[in-house]
């Protein structure tokens, strides 16, 4: 047995040695798909590693304890200081405006903009370095010059306010002198998306600025560099802190999970791209199968000879499986090398542009996963055609013509193929974080694959049965579609898969863009005014009304910050929520109280509270979040508001129209819950007739002057910040789509190359019989266009279904079928098919009949 296996290896090696002609597409398809998966996984792992490595820098210490709206008590502060060095950092949004002195011209006067304010103490930063320009050191830079406080700013702030280093700005009641600009801020990543440029001041300056009002959206973060910085020390510190201050209501983050949100987003996006890469590999699989099939067709005589010499069908299978396997190893290795280099290429090309700590590295696990995918895909696609070689008939050698083998391979090869496909599906599902989506992807791809395969056969069957058209050209084109060995199944399958994905991605992208741009003018407010002190709310309303058209709508709701401490008696930190609602538990949320059900909300379970409700605390919870957290009407939740734990039972569940961008909250309370609690007011302003930059900027200036402590967030600016990020993601999506399209084209090119001989033969015979080159081109163009058109229809359908699913179920937006986008994407792909097909055929047409006929 082992001698036989050795013989199989030797025979496979000899076959290989003669060259790998015809395997170019095979290698390219595998390498491309494997490189895509390996690249995406390596990139995201390098990023995660970098994030983990830089954890304490991003976090600003070994651990960070955040409090909303309140500072740590002296007891808490003492406790922390006994455990290590502590830096206190407060962050909030505020309006910075140019003071009279700084403005050199009237255009600059009263300029105001939102800033992301960060107030630090002398211990900041505990880890990492902040670099300033001029490089004076943070302490010096923040020292108070005469009559003002020192501040350093993001250069963007200077540009936005049209001021220079040395100029002064006002925030609330305090005046600041810009003493330098920030080149890099070590813990910038830990803070999430910024809606405005950063401004760093001291804690002391913040306290005296007048910004700190009851209910202000300020976050106090206590970063600690532990005396015992080991992992054990860190764990002990966290455990002790939790047990000593169970009701502190602080969010504790540690350096090993410094930016969970970012890490999760990186992971999700990379998983999404991995699935796209997997599709590329799947499309490539068709090319792999084709290459093997054509190769074995060419080898049928050799196979028959081997069998005549005593090789069993099993030996024949072993020989070619080994041969193809060795080639696959080469393709996979090429893909892995390319994939492993992608993080380096990324660092080289984009490293400076991406605001992330990125250290490229070789990621063995990522490469292993990609290699596994490559190997399993190879098995899934080659066992079938090689299995057919088992039954090549030797007797044909006597007839000098090798008969086609039967259409199905033996049962064992079918079983092995099914097994490989099952392993592939399992791998895709198990290696994904979000298994539900991976599973849906797997099932959907399998369905699309099946539908396309059947469609190919159906098109051939229909073309065969169609009445013969009068036109010879059309007749020839039709017969090209259905005759044995036609390109139809290959074109439909590979183009269909690639195109379905292309349409899906194009629709997702267009819906994302639409969501960010087009839905705005109708319903969304133009401004959010944050931190309006409750005692000034009336005056503020009157002021704004005076400055906006009469039909503008101003909405106000009381705003508090609260953090979920426990659900149904289970502490929040012990709950492993669905990733989609993890944010609800992660940090403090805005909460409000209201007598009436807000517009756009609908009660779906339970009852709204009666007027003047005076019973024990109750809460209204958003339906979907409640479902995902396993909450029902009547369940108890504990929320920490202003340091006080409030236990409320869920009175009702309600649906919320988040897309309105109006004021919406996960949790609503009846007014009695927070009677007398200090709070601020959140207001929105919408211009029904729309607004332009000038009117909005003017309002910002007026408000900043009259209410310096109120922060105005321009919705358009905030959305632009998000839209910029989405734009960068789109780039990734497009790159992935391009890879799939390339895979499709490769498969197509491979099929055309394999059919080249037959095409030359046809072309020569037809030319001999009087067909002109123009007519032949037309024949082929009609063939490709017909196939492309039918495939595109199916692809648009499949892509629309998939796109709608992703947009509605995963992203939770409303879906609009952008027909133009879908049609453009598929028209482009069809055009490409025809073009490539014709390029392949052009050579066939150029052949001189005589030379070909002689060699026939």
């Amino acid at each position: 047995m082992s001698a036989l296996r050795l013989a199989s290896f030797r025979l496979a090696w000899r076959e290989l040695r003669s060259g790998v002609r015809g395997f170019g597409v095979f290698l390219a398809c595998l390498a491309l798909g494997v490189a895509a998966i390996a690249g995406v996984a390596s990139l995201s792992r390098s990023l995660s590693d970098s994030l983990a490595h830089q954890g304490s820098v991003i976090l600003g210490g070994d651990a960070a304890l955040s409090l909303s709206a309140r500072e740590a008590t002296p007891v808490e502060q003492n406790y922390l200081e006994e455990r290590g060095r502590v830096a206190v950092v407060a962050t909030m949004r505020a309006m910075a405006r140019v003071t009279g002195q700084a403005s050199q011209d009237s255009a600059t006067e009263d300029n105001a903009t939102l800033v992301e304010l960060k107030a630090v103490d002398s211990n900041y930063p505990l880890t990492g370095d902040i670099t300033l320009n001029p490089d004076s050191g943070l302490l010096t830079a923040l020292a108070s010059p005469e009559g003002a406080y020192g501040a350093v700013a993001d250069p963007a702030l200077l540009a936005r306010l049209n001021i220079n280093v040395g100029d002064r700005i006002k925030i609330a009641d305090a005046e600041f002198q810009i003493t330098g600009t920030i080149d890099s801020e070590p813990d910038k990543l830990g803070q999430g998306i910024g809606f405005g440029p950063r401004l760093i001041i001291t804690n002391g300056a913040l306290r005296r600025s007048g910004l700190l009002q009851p209910g202000s959206l300020v976050k106090w973060s206590y970063r600690i560099a532990l005396e015992d910085p080991t992992a054990r020390g860190l764990n002990e510190f966290v455990a002790e802190t939790r047990s000593r201050f169970p009701d502190a209501g602080w969010e504790i983050r540690t350096r090993d999970k410094a930016s969970p949100q970012l890490e999760r987003n990186v992971r999700r996006f990379s998983e999404f791209l991995t699935l796209v890469g997997l599709t590329a590999l799947l499309v490539g699989g068709v090319g792999v199968a084709n290459a093997v099939k054509y190769y074995l067709d060419r080898k049928s005589r050799t196979i028959a000879t081997l069998k005549a010499l005593g090789a069993t069908g099993g030996t024949v299978f072993a020989i070619y499986f080994i041969e193809v396997g060795l080639l696959a190893l080469v393709g996979i290795a090429l893909g892995l090398i390319a994939g492993a280099l992608i993080p380096y290429a990324f660092a080289w090309g984009f490293g400076a542009a991406v605001p992330l700590p990125f250290v490229p590295g070789v990621q063995p696990r990522a490469l292993l996963l990609a290699a596994l995918y490559g190997a399993v895909i190879t098995a899934a696609f080659v066992i079938w055609p090689i299995g057919k070689a088992h039954d090549v008939k030797v007797s044909a050698l006597f007839r000098d013509m090798v008969e086609p083998v039967r259409s199905l391979p033996r049962r064992r090869y079918i079983a092995a193929t099914v097994l490989a496909v099952a392993v592939l599906m399992l791998l895709a599902v198990l290696s994904a974080q979000d298994r539900r989506i991976a599973l849906i992807y797997v099932v959907a791809s399998a369905l699309v694959f099946l539908v396309l395969r059947l469609l190919g056969s159906a098109i051939m069957a229909v073309a065969r049965r169609l009445p013969h058209p009068r036109s010879t050209t059309l007749k020839l084109a039709l017969s090209n579609i259905h005759r044995p060995g036609a390109l139809t199944p290959t074109i439909v399958l590979s183009l269909g898969l690639g195109l379905s994905l292309l349409v899906t991605l194009a629709l997702i992208e267009s819906n994302l863009q639409r969501q960010l741009n087009h839905t705005l003018p109708d319903q969304a407010p133009s401004f959010f005014f944050v931190d309006v002190p409750s005692n000034e709310a009336k005056r503020f309303d009157a002021f704004v009304r005076k400055h906006v058209p009469e039909d503008a709508t101003l909405n106000a709701v009381p705003m508090l910050r609260g953090r979920i401490v426990s659900l149904k008696g289970v502490p929040a930190e012990n709950i492993k929520p669905d990733p989609e609602v993890a944010w609800v538990l992660q940090s403090d949320r805005g909460i409000t109280y209201t007598q009436d059900l807000p517009d756009g909300s609908q009660i779906v379970e339970g009852n709204w509270w009666p007027v003047d409700y005076d019973g024990p605390p109750v809460v209204s919870f958003e339906k979907r979040a409640a479902d995902l957290l396993g909450l029902k009407v009547g369940d108890d939740i504990v929320v920490n508001v202003l340091g006080r734990n409030i236990t409320a039972s869920i009175a009702n569940l309600r649906t919320v129209d988040w897309e309105s961008l109006g004021i919406n909250f996960i949790m609503l309370f009846p007014p009695n819950a927070f009677q007398g609690a200090p709070h601020s007011v959140l207001e929105t302003l919408a211009y029904p007739g729309g607004s332009n930059l000038d009117t909005e900027m003017k309002l910002i200036r007026e408000v900043a002057k009259a209410f310096p402590a109120v922060t105005a967030v321009r919705v358009k600016e905030a959305l632009k910040a998000i839209s910029d990020i989405v734009g960068q993601l789109s780039l990734g999506i497009r790159a992935a789509a391009a890879i799939t399209l390339i895979a499709s084209i490769l498969v197509l090119a491979g099929a055309l190359a394999a059919g080249h001989h037959t095409r030359v033969y046809d072309a020569v015979i037809l030319k001999t019989l009087g067909a002109t080159r123009r007519r032949l081109i037309l024949v082929y163009a009609i063939e490709y266009a017909l196939l492309g058109f039918i495939t595109a229809l199916i692809a648009i359908l499949a892509g629309a279904l998939a796109g709608a699913y992703v947009v509605k179920e995963v992203m939770r937006f409303s879906f609009v079928f952008a027909a133009q986008t879908a049609i453009l994407a598929s028209a482009f792909a069809v055009l490409l098919t025809v073009l490539f097909g014709l390029i392949g055929t052009w050579r066939a047409l150029g052949q001189k009949p005589a030379s070909v006929l002689r060699s026939l």
């Binding site: 050795l6 000899r14 003669s18 081997l306």
Partner: protein, 259 residues
């Protein structure tokens, strides 16, 4: 005719064969290397189905050389395939070197063929991607022979290609290719050597050379030889001739050929 019982088969079979026997050189007492009895074979399906072999019975003694002759389409090559175990008869028995081929699975047949049947094709059917030596080594390796390479070299030297071990088929002349094919067929020392118009693709002089070699080697190996040919001079070198026509063995074949 179906034969269910091996023991019940041999006696009447030999009797009938003796009656049909044509040759003066035919040695009925020699142990049979090939026994074909009552073989029926149709190929194709539906209306394209053709009845190719009709009640073929034939016995060939060990070491005997038989020329299989007849017009195109008479079933010669198909009978050859049946003897090589490449085509399964619809009915009847085929025994090679005492082994009933009908009892073997497809894989067993392949292994049996590798060890016991050497085939020489009209169009050589060398594997183009392998050197002369490797082509000859293949059946030996498939049979798991430890001395495969030595044995292959020996056979190649025997057919006069000692200096051509590492040439590929494309680098060899037609005659040389057929010599390689001959060495390949002989290498496993098969009990049965079958050749399907081995000179059909060669010029006359080269064909004669190959045939000299084939008969010399056969004598050397003491193999049984069945050869399909249209060449009368070749048939004369055989111990006897079996003529086929329309799927039957012709009774008076030998007289027709040797006359």
């Amino acid at each position: 005719m179906k034969w269910n019982n091996e023991d019940g088969m041999d006696a009447p079979f030999k009797d009938s064969l003796c009656k049909d026997s044509l040759g003066k050189s035919y040695n009925a007492s020699a142990p049979a290397a090939v026994i074909v009895n009552g073989v029926e074979l149709s190929l194709g399906t539906g209306r394209a189905r053709v009845h190719i072999l009709k009640q073929i019975s034939l016995e060939i003694g060990a070491g005997e050389a038989v020329g299989l002759i007849g017009p195109s389409g008479s079933g010669k090559s198909t009978l050859l395939m049946v003897m090589a175990g490449l085509e399964r008869p619809d009915a009847g028995i085929v025994k090679i070197a005492g082994q009933d081929l009908g009892t073997l699975s497809e894989d067993q047949l392949a292994r049996f063929r590798g060890k016991n049947v050497g085939i020489v094709f009209q169009s050589f059917h060398l594997i183009p991607t392998m050197t002369a030596l490797e082509n000859v080594v293949v059946p030996l390796e498939l049979a798991g022979r430890a001395d495969a390479v030595e044995r292959a070299k020996f056979e190649l030297e025997g057919v006069g290609l000692g200096g051509r071990f590492h040439h590929y088929p494309a680098q060899l002349s037609g005659g040389e290719q057929q010599r390689v094919a001959l060495a390949r067929a002989l290498a496993p020392m098969p009990a049965l050597l079958i050749a399907d118009e081995p000179t059909g693709n060669l010029d006359e002089a080269t064909g004669r050379e190959i045939m000299d070699l084939l008969f010399a080697k056969r004598a050397e190996h003491k193999s049984t030889l069945v050869i399909v040919t249209h060449d009368g001079s070749l048939v004369k070198r055989c111990d006897r001739a079996v003529a086929m026509r329309s799927g039957h063995i012709e009774q008076k074949a030998e007289e027709a050929v040797t006359a």
